[in-house]
Symmetry: D4
Subunit: 249 residues, 8 copies
Amino acid sequence: MDIKKLKQLLDSVHSSQISVDEALAQLKDLPYQDISYARVDHHRSLRNGFPEVIFGQGKSVEQIIGIMEAMVSKNDTIMVTRLKKEKADRITKRFVDSIYHPDAKVLIYSSNPIEITGKGTIVVVTAGTSDIPVAEEAAITAQTMGNHVDTLYDVGVAGIHRLIDYKDSLEQASVLIVIAGMEGALPSVVGGLVDKPIIAVPTSTGYGTSFGGLTALFAMLNSCSSGIAVVNIDNGFGAGYVASLINKI
Amino acid sequence: MDIKKLKQLLDSVHSSQISVDEALAQLKDLPYQDISYARVDHHRSLRNGFPEVIFGQGKSVEQIIGIMEAMVSKNDTIMVTRLKKEKADRITKRFVDSIYHPDAKVLIYSSNPIEITGKGTIVVVTAGTSDIPVAEEAAITAQTMGNHVDTLYDVGVAGIHRLIDYKDSLEQASVLIVIAGMEGALPSVVGGLVDKPIIAVPTSTGYGTSFGGLTALFAMLNSCSSGIAVVNIDNGFGAGYVASLINKI
Amino acid sequence: MDIKKLKQLLDSVHSSQISVDEALAQLKDLPYQDISYARVDHHRSLRNGFPEVIFGQGKSVEQIIGIMEAMVSKNDTIMVTRLKKEKADRITKRFVDSIYHPDAKVLIYSSNPIEITGKGTIVVVTAGTSDIPVAEEAAITAQTMGNHVDTLYDVGVAGIHRLIDYKDSLEQASVLIVIAGMEGALPSVVGGLVDKPIIAVPTSTGYGTSFGGLTALFAMLNSCSSGIAVVNIDNGFGAGYVASLINKI
Amino acid sequence: MDIKKLKQLLDSVHSSQISVDEALAQLKDLPYQDISYARVDHHRSLRNGFPEVIFGQGKSVEQIIGIMEAMVSKNDTIMVTRLKKEKADRITKRFVDSIYHPDAKVLIYSSNPIEITGKGTIVVVTAGTSDIPVAEEAAITAQTMGNHVDTLYDVGVAGIHRLIDYKDSLEQASVLIVIAGMEGALPSVVGGLVDKPIIAVPTSTGYGTSFGGLTALFAMLNSCSSGIAVVNIDNGFGAGYVASLINKI
Amino acid sequence: MDIKKLKQLLDSVHSSQISVDEALAQLKDLPYQDISYARVDHHRSLRNGFPEVIFGQGKSVEQIIGIMEAMVSKNDTIMVTRLKKEKADRITKRFVDSIYHPDAKVLIYSSNPIEITGKGTIVVVTAGTSDIPVAEEAAITAQTMGNHVDTLYDVGVAGIHRLIDYKDSLEQASVLIVIAGMEGALPSVVGGLVDKPIIAVPTSTGYGTSFGGLTALFAMLNSCSSGIAVVNIDNGFGAGYVASLINKI
Amino acid sequence: MDIKKLKQLLDSVHSSQISVDEALAQLKDLPYQDISYARVDHHRSLRNGFPEVIFGQGKSVEQIIGIMEAMVSKNDTIMVTRLKKEKADRITKRFVDSIYHPDAKVLIYSSNPIEITGKGTIVVVTAGTSDIPVAEEAAITAQTMGNHVDTLYDVGVAGIHRLIDYKDSLEQASVLIVIAGMEGALPSVVGGLVDKPIIAVPTSTGYGTSFGGLTALFAMLNSCSSGIAVVNIDNGFGAGYVASLINKI
Amino acid sequence: MDIKKLKQLLDSVHSSQISVDEALAQLKDLPYQDISYARVDHHRSLRNGFPEVIFGQGKSVEQIIGIMEAMVSKNDTIMVTRLKKEKADRITKRFVDSIYHPDAKVLIYSSNPIEITGKGTIVVVTAGTSDIPVAEEAAITAQTMGNHVDTLYDVGVAGIHRLIDYKDSLEQASVLIVIAGMEGALPSVVGGLVDKPIIAVPTSTGYGTSFGGLTALFAMLNSCSSGIAVVNIDNGFGAGYVASLINKI
Amino acid sequence: MDIKKLKQLLDSVHSSQISVDEALAQLKDLPYQDISYARVDHHRSLRNGFPEVIFGQGKSVEQIIGIMEAMVSKNDTIMVTRLKKEKADRITKRFVDSIYHPDAKVLIYSSNPIEITGKGTIVVVTAGTSDIPVAEEAAITAQTMGNHVDTLYDVGVAGIHRLIDYKDSLEQASVLIVIAGMEGALPSVVGGLVDKPIIAVPTSTGYGTSFGGLTALFAMLNSCSSGIAVVNIDNGFGAGYVASLINKI
């Protein structure tokens, strides 16, 4: 239950549009609603400032729809991440107000247009073209949470002049999400160019000793530039989420 | 060279207090000054918004003093991290305006009082008492960069009620630095309680399969709570730095 | 051969219902029966207090049926773990007294109702919904071994109030099985709430630096709470087994 | 504050031996007492059924004495683990009721004789002589928590007949702690001989690919015997603690 | 070219059955014959005392047949390992004197019966039924190299009495091949029972922290029993080969 | 108790030189003698064909002397491995019939000259000079177990002609012990030159990605030559032991 | 844009064959051309001396064709690596001047014959037949960059005489690319035979502790021979590229 | 024996300055001279084009002096690497023509001035000041092997403009040695700026997830720039050696 919905409910009680008993019935599921295979946490959106997010990977379509049904009356916006296209197709049929982003593998259900509440612009940067799906997951997360987002893709360190040409754009960000696989050097270079917080995302791009993103992860944690914090491999959602929290302080 | 010093110089030129040639002489070291074993980067403080930081580990006292001497005329504040007490004692003799913090192993040289420029309060939380040195490094870094800092130590998840009692303090932070070794679970629990960005710091506290902090690091990267980004093991400085950047957006 | 069957045999000899020669014929396979690809160990159920368990993974349907046939005359209850549905379907046709649990991937053959011999209640707790299959394997194992089992699913540390609401249930357990993937923090928090032995089970839920459950495993081994012992990743059976032994002391 | 002390206090209030205000003063530190570098948790002994344990490694003598002083009025028994002899010598001078066990590196402060509250006997078994310090830590922990403890040392699998000769002793245990380094095979063999819960402890004994106990740890987690749960490398304390919880159900 | 074939050739020259030129033509491929994608090494069988072995994995059927054709006139016996059934079916059509062993995934081409040249008996022991394919690869290799081989399967350490019952058989071996997955404890126990050289083979049987056989490998290398040497994970062929060399000294 | 001593005892009984009671008294310690911190296994020398070996690392001088005193009346030869010089000096004072080999860190107590019982010659080969201590441990072990031993040091693969010049010596071995650190390539090359069983020993020589011998270990396990089995890193004793067993079949 | 094309353009301007405006239009994409999902870097061929290379893995056929279309007017030669046959078939239809090498998984588009600009001969050596695909990728890369290339396959260290017979060929190389999987010993032996720079390439050939090429990689980095530098596992392209740079100094 | 010395000897024979017998006596040690603990390889300098190099680590002063004495009559130049100052002091006393470089931990014995035989200039670049010892080892190696060497220290990627200012110097190199610890990003950036072969050297600079240089190593192997080959961690000598071979083609 997000704050807007909760306020509407209390306003309705106040204006006698609905009875106290009806309000009680709606609120009785708080703090969470048990649907046998999941404990839908209606407090979380109030507590954490964001609509529920469903981690789609490893859940059946039936489970996802069940969880969404438990949420939909209490939330304007629901996000499903790591969702394969075949599953998404069945869900968008059930929830016609939802849109699926195939690159990002993210589904957004939204009964109302999303309001911009973040102060500055979040800039999402990638080293290569293979990092774009992770970048899109980050960008859509940040947008859905109410932020302006710019993107700047394929500016890796092997052609350092490409990056330097964009120094101005980078400096106008309030927070940057910098995404790279292989040797994961891009956050270090960006961190040397601008004095803004950087959320670095390692990706599983590469082969051999890239170890599915571990080398990029460890490189980012060892950056000789300061001002960098890191999220899990391929975790575009997490980067978008923390960048949004930062952009709303 | 920090912005204040640079502005003073230009003002002096403008008001004819010093000649253009004198100013030129002072500025000629820009962008960096070669002292044979190091290339002191006077641009960095302008570019990155913070006085120079010297990573003390692995540098001799002579090297550190040499680098400080190259900086001191152009910076109000210099920070030396990972500095053992024996080395610090010799440096504080040479630079009497410097103070050594033995827990944090940090030396701060400062010719002027530090001005508070951060907007909110940075709260530093630790799971155990062994994590305090890393917490102190983070706290001193954030203070030196001009932030209000609160600390809350020894509130690990084995006694969850200790943490919950402090929920209000946690919620008043603009950004949190959460520090834990062993299983590294504290950021997950804090992240479930508040909707503020969390910089998580794994520490090398523990034995056996704590692997010198790796288990805590990986646990933090895998947090089931959102809103968490991570820095390197024992990297209190990095956490304080990125928290400061966030607090100044 | 379980103790009940053995006693029946000896009673029959004693009451002259069967001849000594007949009893001898039945007992001659002890201590184990060689069926060429396996050495069925009839002593184990006597020695270890539990009917034979067949690890189904990597065995053909023919091998499993062969082993069950060698056991069935001497055991009331047989358990097959890590058994895929397609294999199970063929086995339940051959042994009509067997039931397959698809979530847990466990088949239970039982010629008699299972008797409750455990003293207290074993409570099985999971952090998320993805951990449920492992939890079911644990729960069914403990039930089949004659224990009362309660379950409490999806109470992970990101929403700590969900867990604390159930503190009473947790405290009434004689032994707890606590199951979590990702950062594996749940056993630490539960261990801080109750003073009962906890068998912690890491699961392979997660991605990136969850390393297929290793991060959760190491986190659990490093728990800052005492009273926790750990079994192999995804080893619900092992947890159920050891919890049952504890519950029968 | 352990249960006995708390009960005495309440009895004194009830019988008017001390005033309510005095009792209040004593109880006001609950739930925990802040001594600046540590948050002494007086609830833990009530909650977890055991006097406070101080993890000595990485704490200064001053810190340990400070924590003990905060505890001593509210607890009959205090245990300090991983304590080097030099530190212990200074602590036993301050607390004359404390005894130091050099093999186990454990200090026990006890103002009263320890009462046996465990039901059966905990048997501690080691594979080699190098595993004895870990075994002693486990044995002393279990004894201090009120259990009968037997030990059986140096019965590793290279001389399997030594172990088999002791089968009767093993079977009379209520719970076993089995400790081994190198290949860590002993718990598997013991687990095949008896039907009691086994807490396995890997030790860092060995060289080369023993990896400081990791090989033994992984071997124990992969045991082909059931009924085994594992604690961290060299964690004798943890094994003694969980065995004690089991022995008191 | 094996020694028998070479001797026949020289005898034929000596007895003028073939001309020197013909012999020369046959010998001219020595030391090796270039078939573009492989350099067939005719010296190896002379030098190493065994017919050529082709590692089938990763080679096409065409490549294998090509290599066999280059060998067949100079060798009585050819062995192809790690060969899938589908490939084997096509090869046995081309070389009708070849037999495929599906468990071991080994194909043996042999134009003459194999002669026993090894002195004693090689005994192959496994811990479980899942280890049998590796054991069969070892057994067939040793037989093909001219040794008597006995097998003893499914005698793992969880039921130690099964193994002890076979102590006599074990002691009559000249060399033992001991195969185990999971915790890999069997070679340690066998090594404590007999004073014969043991070639230990870890297998990839297991899950979680068995790490595809690494745990068993490291356990075997750390055995507390002496007299054990180890080969690569699942390397039945290597074990059979080295055991055969030992049996022929 | 080695076979010779046992036979002498029985002969004495037979010839009435000692009474049955006296013999009984001597034999009553069988199968093992409990000296509190160790269970001296007098059966092992009978069972495993070799005098007791004491792993010196991690044992105090007092413990070693205690174990030796329990053994000395029943064994002609005792070996202590991994023994530092300072400890050895104190032991050789107590047991004047013992000799310490400082390179190998091995002490040999022997009341009689060692008899050669091995059939062929064991050749010990090293890649570099840093591998010599491990080689000496292997050579002395094999000699003490009654074998002829030859050594060939510093013939690594970077100068392949050095090795090839010694091909004849290599071929005259009954079994080879091949020792190398760094990339561990020597066993592969030797295995391509001779058709004798090779016990390969990786050493911890090297730096960086030699990982303390792991790279050499894994390289040896992956050898493209057949006929190679491997022991633990730096385990010269184990190699000498298994080579001796092979040489005595 | 390669140097030849650029020179042609400037010549055309100089000779008034094209107008300055036309030249400007062609050059305006410099330094790079944004095609939305990729930033085609026309400077790279000028800067790095080689036509653009497209890393085919993980890119769709549409993306590859799009990038090639942006390049083709400005480059004579384009190389696509890690390209599966099915994708290649569709690309060769669109670009008829391109040739696909299935072993190497490389596609070469070339509008003009490649000119030899390298000074000496690059010799590519493999240990086994499984290493040939990587070798072909290296050889084609070096040829496409204008070098004479010789190959020498299947000369691994298990048959060291095969290699020594080719010593002369090896010595005539200007630079060697030495490719091996499993224990990765070949570069060490070659490095001991010749005094030329060696680019070593580990391959993922092997099983068990070959760890997908890691063991070979670490062995090569630890080579006891000097003069060896290493590229990533299976990185034939990288080896061919750096060898070409060396051959053109 | 280097080529110059050998030629002098043969000239002396030719001109009858020394007798054939005398020459024979001097040459009889070829191909190598056995000094019991080492096999000094006089062929290597002829074969590999460089005076002998002694790896000092783990060798005693006596061993090093012994090896040098065996070499000194046949070589003009000898290099000892990884040599601690205390050892060096004793060696320079014995060989007065030797110079010790304390930063690089290298000792150079040279009876004649070193002649420049390399064609271009080798440029050694470091990311930080902590990488300088490794850089010095590389530089001295390359100089001793007869090359012009330039150095450029402390130009890491956190201040990318420092590096770009030196683009011209970088481009004038024939081969570059690029040295970095922590995230190891420098070779990628340099590789994007110049088209010369780069030998990348990871250093153990850093902490936490730098893993003693492994992260830098893996990052360099995964570089998105082409033209980079890598040597072992901290292996300045190896980099200088291979760069020298490249510079002499």
